[in-house]
Each structure stands twice: as structure tokens, then as C-alpha cells.
């Protein structure tokens, strides 16, 4: 059936024949290939939104949207540096453990000291955690996935040590971190600011473009005079620092710190970034894509809960969406390659 040329247009010259022969299917394929990957994600998001809206009246209310934003803000804050790292071909699997560790440090310090001291201590530990990851990954030449797999375990262990395996009550001491700013919860404001900043850095700074260059081809980047080690080091430091911030937000939200906080979030971060179009082999990925990935994960969780689907099925559904979205993007890439 592909043989049948479309009748209208350019039947005259033999040169026009191939053009006239483009079938409707090929045209759709071409549009599919030409559109940015974010469009696919927006379509997925809209479809999910429509389904949940049909299933629950509460879904599209301001209050519920605020809930979604609240629930994804920590994920979003961690995914911003994670995106840069993955574009450069690196991973930070220790962010969730780091957040738990920083939360526990804040809890321990807050018992005897001021809230300011607790916050400073938490951010300092986050910074140290990032420096440790960065030194080993960038300068000692150990693959970052190995380094942060080690610190994923190590930081989690330290968090439980500092908290004695118990939940540390904060007695409202750091609650103000997540107070509203002009009516918007502070963690949402931070999520937005950090995302915008990351987007700007990735798109408009030499640092950001170097990150792409390194991920695209490390050898070529080096031969072009790009300094790889400091670039990677800085990303790990930022990642550690933001893990500290995430730990504080969690402690503030729950008014408690726990060595078990944010368990599994590191993989949600990776899932959101991959969903957003980043490639595991580096060189590809965008901040808007990651934000959409974060929202897809958040809306799945929120919507499925509203439809009172069991959390086990929620995990299955999220897994399916992740593989399907990435698979669709692969199809797109393959079509554009041929």
C-alpha cells in the first residue's frame, strides 16, 4: 500500500514523484521526529491529567495542585543538579542518603543549639558530602556511579548512626523553613528558583555548555581545551549542597529528622531525569524535560492515590510510564537517524 502515490500535486515531472509519494503515515512520522522531546512529555502529562480529572473531581482544584507541587519540590530540587551531572555522563546516587544525613545532623544540632546553627551544620555537611563525592569522582578517577553507590550506603549509615536509629523530634524549631512566602510555601519557591537558575546555567553559561561537551565526547572536549575535572567537581558540590537543603525541607515538613528519610528518592530523581529525555551515556538532557519528568511522576502518584489505587499498583504504573516514555523517545531518535 505504500506503493500507491498520493494523487494530488506534482504528477507532471518525474522529479516530483517522490515528493508526491509521501504517505500520510510518513508525514506523521516526520512531524513526530521533528518535534522536541518535551512535546511528547507534555502530551503524556495532558493525557494523564485528563484521565485523573475524569476520575476525580478533586484532581484539578487549586488545593490539589498545591499538594502536587509540595510533593514534588524536594524531588525537583535534587533533580536539577542531577540533570547536569547526567548530561556530563555522571551520577549522584547519594543525594537521598545525603539529605537524610543532613536532616539528622540538623536534628542533633537543634537539640542544644539555635535553628541557625542547625541549618548551617546541615548545609556544611551537605557541602562536605558533595566535596567527598566530587574529589573521588573527578580527581581520583573512580566512576561516579561507583563512588556514589558507596556513599549512598555510607551516608545512609551515618544518618542512622547520628540519629541512633530513632526519629529526632524537632519541636517546631526548623518549621519556618517551609513557611509561606507571599502565600506560596517556601519549598515550592525554592524549587522554582533552583530550576530556573539551572535552566539558565545550562543554556546560557560556558559552564553549562562545557557540561554538554564533556558528556558528548570527553576526549574531544579535552582536546578543545575544556577542563573536565573542575567542572565535574563543582557539579558534585552543588548536588551535595542541595541534598543538604532537601534534608532541611524534609525535616521542616515533618518537624522531625529520621535516618530513613527520603528512602528510594535517588532513583526517582534518576527516573525523572531519564523521563525528561536525558541519555545515560551523556550529552543529552534538558532542564525543562526534567521538570516535566518530575511532574509526570508527581501527578501519577497524586492522581492514582485520588483514584484510591493501591500504592503497589502505583509503582507498577509509574514503571510502565517510565519505560514507555523512554521507549517512545528511542523510537523517535531511531527514526531521525535513518
Amino acid at each position: 500500500m505504500d506503493e500507491t502515490p498520493v494523487e494530488e500535486g506534482g504528477a507532471g515531472s518525474p522529479d516530483a514523484a517522490p515528493v508526491a509519494g509521501i504517505s500520510g503515515r510518513a508525514r506523521i512520522a516526520r512531524i513526530f521526529v521533528a518535534m522536541p522531546p518535551e512535546v511528547v512529555l507534555i502530551v503524556v502529562l495532558v493525557i494523564l491529567g485528563f484521565i485523573f480529572w475524569q476520575g476525580s473531581e478533586f484532581f484539578l482544584t487549586t488545593r490539589n495542585m498545591r499538594n502536587v507541587l509540595l510533593s514534588v519540590s524536594v524531588l525537583g530540587i535534587l533533580a536539577a543538579p542531577g540533570t547536569l551531572l547526567l548530561i556530563s555522563g555522571n551520577f549522584d546516587l547519594s543525594v537521598a542518603s545525603g539529605a537524610a544525613l543532613c536532616g539528622c545532623i540538623a536534628g542533633v544540632v537543634a537539640e542544644e543549639n539555635s535553628a541557625a546553627a542547625a541549618i548551617l551544620a546541615a548545609l556544611a555537611v551537605g557541602l562536605l558530602a558533595g566535596i567527598f563525592n566530587g574529589v573521588l569522582s573527578a580527581y581520583a578517577g573512580i566512576a561516579s556511579i561507583v563512588v556514589t553507590l558507596g556513599t549512598w550506603l555510607g551516608y545512609r549509615g551515618l544518618a542512622r548512626l547520628f540519629s541512633n536509629g530513632q526519629t529526632i523530634r524537632m519541636n517546631g524549631k526548623v518549621e519556618f523553613i517551609t513557611n509561606d512566602i507571599f502565600g506560596v510555601p517556601a519549598q515550592i519557591v525554592m524549587f522554582v528558583l533552583i530550576t530556573v537558575l539551572a535552566w539558565f546555567v545550562v543554556r546560557y553559561t560556558r559552564f553549562g555548555r562545557s557540561v554538554y561537551a564533556i558528556g558528548s565526547n570527553p576526549t574531544a572536549a579535552r582536546l578543545s581545551g575544556i577542563r573536565q575535572k573542575p567542572t565535574i567537581f563543582v557539579m558534585f558540590i552543588v548536588s551535595g549542597l542541595l541534598a543538604g537543603l532537601a534534608g532541611l525541607i524534609l525535616a521542616s515538613q515533618l518537624d522531625a529528622a529520621s535516618g530513613n528519610a527520603a528512602t528510594g528518592v535517588e532513583l526517582e530523581v534518576v527516573a525523572a531525569i531519564i523521563l525528561g529525555g536525558a541519555s545515560l551515556s551523556g550529552g543529552r538532557g534538558t532542564i525543562p524535560g526534567t521538570v516535566l519528568g518530575v511532574f509526570i511522576l508527581g501527578i501519577m502518584q497524586n492522581g492514582l492515590t485520588l483514584l484510591s489505587i493501591s500504592s503497589f499498583w502505583q509503582d507498577v504504573a509509574t514503571g510502565v510510564v517510565l519505560v514507555a516514555a523512554v521507549g517512545l523517545d528511542q523510537v523517535r531518535l531511531r527514526l531521525s537517524g535513518s
Partner: protein, 516 residues
């Protein structure tokens, strides 16, 4: 199966006639015949681009032939894929190894057809027994339990051949097998080839080293510009005849020369004295001046490439001095070479070393200039787009997507122009290019030469490392011939012809070998 002299496989007779092949409308192989029999070594001789590898890839099933017939053992052979070729007993041994370096020698010899016992598990004792049997039959000693990655280059080459023969190959095509070997290793390989010959294996030996042809081959077939121009027993050819056949008589005509004759050559830009690097080049003196295009001509492995790497700070020199303009010393990194010395480097493998493959054309053009394009760390897309505007006409970069096209989707020639443009944008005063037109089509090749000449005329010094004789005579002002890590000759381009250069590289190789 096994004949009286211990051959593994039945002798083969191959007769290919009228092989033709075109790429993009340009015919690169104009109907050549190749004949080879078991127990015989046929040397395929020719310069780069003469059509040797195209012909070989047709036999190996890598390329589909446009015309021609391949007859094996009297029957027409239907070869459409490497798999088909393998079924007829044809195997090409390329310079890159196709073994599994993390597995043992024994397992590599059974790769893809590991014997299994009655439980369906791998029969390891048989794997080792088979391996020993094959190696013994071929008269090779290799540690069968050793990991292949720990073997030397020559041993791996021998293993590669053994694997082919274990897989019932009857015709081996060896693609410049000695290019990475030392003299002793070459001797060992030749002894091995003699044994294979005695066992009835047919061998096509691709090379451009005349001394090797005389040592190992029975017959020689010379390619030039896609034609088989001479053929016969090696004994009937002198070295002079072979060179003449390779180069042709109408030497200097035909190709438009881009030599900068008559133009001003200025102050020295790069000066190297007594440079040595462990085991790759020794005591090299070199001077490249403003406006000069200097070619370092030599066979692969002659040390010229390594010298270029040292100039760009990728390889340490153990002795000697270097200066570029007012900066003396050796760059300690590419970054240093670019920023302090003003050197631009076009690597030999643009795909793995040159291109930021998934970034766009504008970014690839500008990447080396980012440090001075940025203000307060900012690098907006408009800035890189401007760089593209500046170069796409000069370099004639042809891509549908303009500045934002992903560079990976450009053709090889256009990609090379982008890598070259990167250093022009950076305003390098010394350009070092390694095999700058490898894998580049004829049109883009001419454009690259023109651009190089134009910028040389504006005062840039250009150092080209190449094993392509055409390139040398077309573009250079000065030619320095290297062999076995040493400079063996220097010429003004106007004072030398192709035949002389080729003879020099080849003959001096022999002399150096005799001396060492």
C-alpha cells in the same frame, strides 16, 4: 580433509573478474581482476585511495559490488555479506582486532561455537584440547590460559589468524599486518605466513611496503586510481617497476597543485630541536614558519603522529626543546597548548577525538574559543550562532540544519571542516593536522586544502602529518620524511617527485632496519 602436509582446510582457488564499485556516483573501482590460489601469497600494492581496500571489502562481503563475477573453485560465488564470505572460507584480518580481550586464548579460539557436553554446559576441557590442537597444527606457541588482552600486538595478530583458520578459512586477507609490529615481530609473522603457505592457505597481503612484497609474496598486483595497472610474479618486478606502477608516469600533471610557490615564508613559528619520546621518535629537528605548510610524510607507525601529539601536549618528550613564537617549553596539556602556545590540533580520528557528537555545528565550531567569547561566564546561543555565520561560507559547511544541526548528522567532509574551523575561529598561529583528509570525499578534500592554503597565506604555520602521498605533493611547501622515529629526508616540495618520496620512505625503512 587434512592433506599430506598437514593443511587444515581444502585448498581454494579464487578468480574475481571485472569488479566495479561506485560511491555517490563516482566510480572508485574500474573493473579489476584478482586471482589467487591456495599455497600462494598475492601482494596487493598501491597508495592510499588506489582502491585496494574497496576491492577487499567486496571480496569480504562488506561492500556490494556494482559489477563483476567472483568464482571460487570453479563455481560462481554469491557473496553478499561477511557471513557469506566466511562460508566460502574467506576471511579478512583487519588492523583492529576482533577478539575478546577479557577471555582466554583458548576460549577465543572457540568463540561463537563453544563445544558443549551432554548437560548442555560448556565443555572446558574440550575447549582447551581444541585450542592446543589448532595451535600445534599451525606451529604456534601461545599460552592458552592467558587472557588475550595481556598478549602483545604480534601475538594477537597471530591469534587472529589462528581463529580464522580454526573457523575453516581458506583464503586469508591480511590488511597491512605489520604496521604495528616491531622488526622481530614482523620476522615471526613472516615465518608464520610461510608455514601457512606450505599448508595450502591462500593469502592476499595488502601493503605499501616494497621490501615486504619482495620478502613474502609470490605474485604482485598493483592498484592505481581504481585500476589494476600491473600484475605478475614478484621475480619479474624490480623495485623501480613497482614504484612506477604505483605512481604512474604522468606524475606531476593532472592534479592541480596548491603549493604556495612564490609566496613569502616568514619567521619561524614552531621550532623543535633534538626531540625524543620513549620508543616512538628520536632526535627530531623541525621548523615550521609563518605561511608555510609542512608535511611530515611517513608510514603509519613512523613516529610522525606521536610527534604531533607531543607538540599539542598529549605526549611527553624525554629530550629536546620546543618553542612556539615567544613561548618555549612543551605544553603540559591540550589546554596549555591552546591557551598559551596558540596551537590548534585536528586529531586523526575525528569521530572519537574531534567532534562533540551530539552537540550542534555552532557549538562544535566555537568550543575552543569559549574562554574568550564568554563575558562573566555567560555564553548565550546567539554567540555561538554568530561563530557559525562567520565560517559557514568560508568553509562551505553544507548541512540542512544550519547552526543548530547536530554535528553527527553531517557528512565526513563537512565534519572535518567543522573541526578545522574550530581552530581558525580560535585564531591559532600553528595548526597541527593528523591525516586531515582521511575519510573525506574528493570535493571536500579540495576545499580543505584551499582553506589551509588561504590561511597559510595569511601567516598561519601548518604542520600536516600524513601517510597520503597525494596530499603531500598537492599541498606542501616543505616535506619531511620520517621513518622508524627518525627524520630521514627533507625536501622543498618543488625539488622532489612522488616516486622519490615513496622510494625514500620504503628504502630508508629497509636501511634503518639493516642498521638496527
Amino acid at each position: 580433509m587434512t592433506t599430506e602436509n598437514g593443511a587444515l582446510n581444502k585448498r581454494l582457488e579464487l578468480r574475481a573478474t571485472g569488479l566495479r564499485k561506485s560511491f555517490g556516483g563516482v566510480e572508485v573501482l574500474h573493473g579489476v581482476d584478482i586471482t589467487v590460489k591456495g599455497g600462494e601469497v598475492l601482494a596487493l600494492l598501491g597508495e592510499n585511495g588506489a582502491g585496494k581496500s574497496t576491492a577487499i571489502k567486496i571480496l569480504a562481503g562488506d561492500y556490494k559490488r556494482d559489477a563483476g563475477v567472483i568464482v571460487i573453485d570453479g563455481e560462481e560465488a554469491d557473496i553478499r555479506s561477511p557471513r557469506d564470505a566466511g562460508a566460502y572460507g574467506l576471511r579478512v584480518i583487519y588492523q583492529e582486532f576482533s577478539d575478546a580481550p577479557d577471555l582466554t586464548v583458548a576460549e577465543n579460539l572457540s568463540l561463537g561455537r563453544l563445544p558443549r557436553n551432554r548437560f548442555g554446559l560448556v565443555d572446558w576441557s574440550r575447549v582447551r584440547r581444541d585450542a592446543m590442537e589448532i595451535l600445534e597444527k599451525l606451529g604456534i606457541e601461545l599460552p592458552i590460559r592467558a587472557l588475550v588482552g595481556t598478549l602483545g600486538v604480534a601475538e594477537r595478530q597471530v591469534l587472529e589468524i589462528a581463529r580464522a583458520l580454526a573457523g575453516s578459512a581458506r583464503l586469508l586477507i591480511l590488511d597491512e599486518p605489520t604496521s604495528a609490529l616491531t622488526l622481530e615481530e614482523t620476522d615471526a609473522l613472516f615465518a608464520f605466513i610461510e608455514r601457512l603457505k606450505a599448508q595450502g592457505v591462500a593469502i592476499i597481503y595488502i601493503t605499501h611496503r616494497l621490501d615486504e612484497v619482495e620478502r613474502i609474496a609470490d605474485n604482485v598486483l598493483v592498484f592505481r586510481d581504481g585500476d589494476a595497472v600491473a600484475e605478475g610474479p614478484v621475480s619479474e618486478f624490480g623495485r623501480k617497476e613497482m614504484v612506477e606502477a604505483m605512481v604512474g608516469h604522468e606524475l606531476e600533471e593532472g592534479v592541480a597543485s596548491l603549493r604556495g610557490e612564490g609566496h613569502e615564508i616568514g619567521e619561524p613559528v614552531l621550532t623543535i630541536e633534538g626531540a625524543s619520546s620513549e620508543g616512538v621518535f628520536t632526535d627530531v629537528d623541525l621548523e615550521v614558519r609563518e605561511g608555510e605548510i609542512l608535511s611530515l610524510f611517513g608510514r603509519i607507525g613512523c613516529g610522525a603522529l606521536e610527534l604531533a601529539e607531543a607538540v599539542f601536549g598529549l605526549r611527553e618528550m624525554i629530550a629536546g626543546s620546543m618553542r612556539v613564537g615567544d613561548q618555549s617549553g612543551q605544553p603540559n596539556s591540550p589546554k596549555d597548548a591552546i591557551a598559551r602556545f596558540g596551537i590548534g590540533f585536528v586529531p586523526i580520528d575525528r569521530k572519537t577525538d574531534g567532534l562533540l557528537t551530539v552537540l550542534n555545528v555552532a557549538e562544535n565550531l566555537s568550543v575552543a574559543s569559549w574562554p574568550w567569547m564568554t563575558k562573566a561566564g555567560l555564553l548565550p546561543p546567539m554567540a555561538t550562532a554568530k561563530v557559525f555565520e562567520r565560517w559557514y561560507e568560508t568553509l562551505d559547511i553544507r548541512g540542512k540544519g544550519g547552526a543548530t544541526q547536530i554535528v553527527d548528522t553531517l557528512s565526513g567532509g563537512n565534519q572535518q571542516k567543522v573541526v578545522l574551523g574550530r581552530w581558525l575561529e580560535r585564531q591559532s598561529r600553528l595548526l597541527v593536522l593528523a591525516e586531515p583528509t582521511r575519510g573525506v570525499d574528493v570535493g571536500a578534500r579540495a576545499q580543505i586544502y584551499q582553506v589551509l592554503r588561504r590561511f597559510a597565506d595569511q601567516g598561519i604555520a601548518v604542520l600536516i602529518v600524513t601517510s597520503d602521498i597525494e596530499e603531500v605533493v598537492r599541498i606542501s611547501d616543505t616535506i619531511v620524511v620520517m621513518s622508524r622515529g627518525r627524520v630521514v629526508a627533507r625536501h622543498r616540495a618543488s625539488e622532489v617527485d612522488r616516486a622519490q618520496l615513496i622510494r625514500q620512505a620504503a628504502e630508508d625503512t629497509v636501511e634503518a632496519a639493516a642498521a638496527g
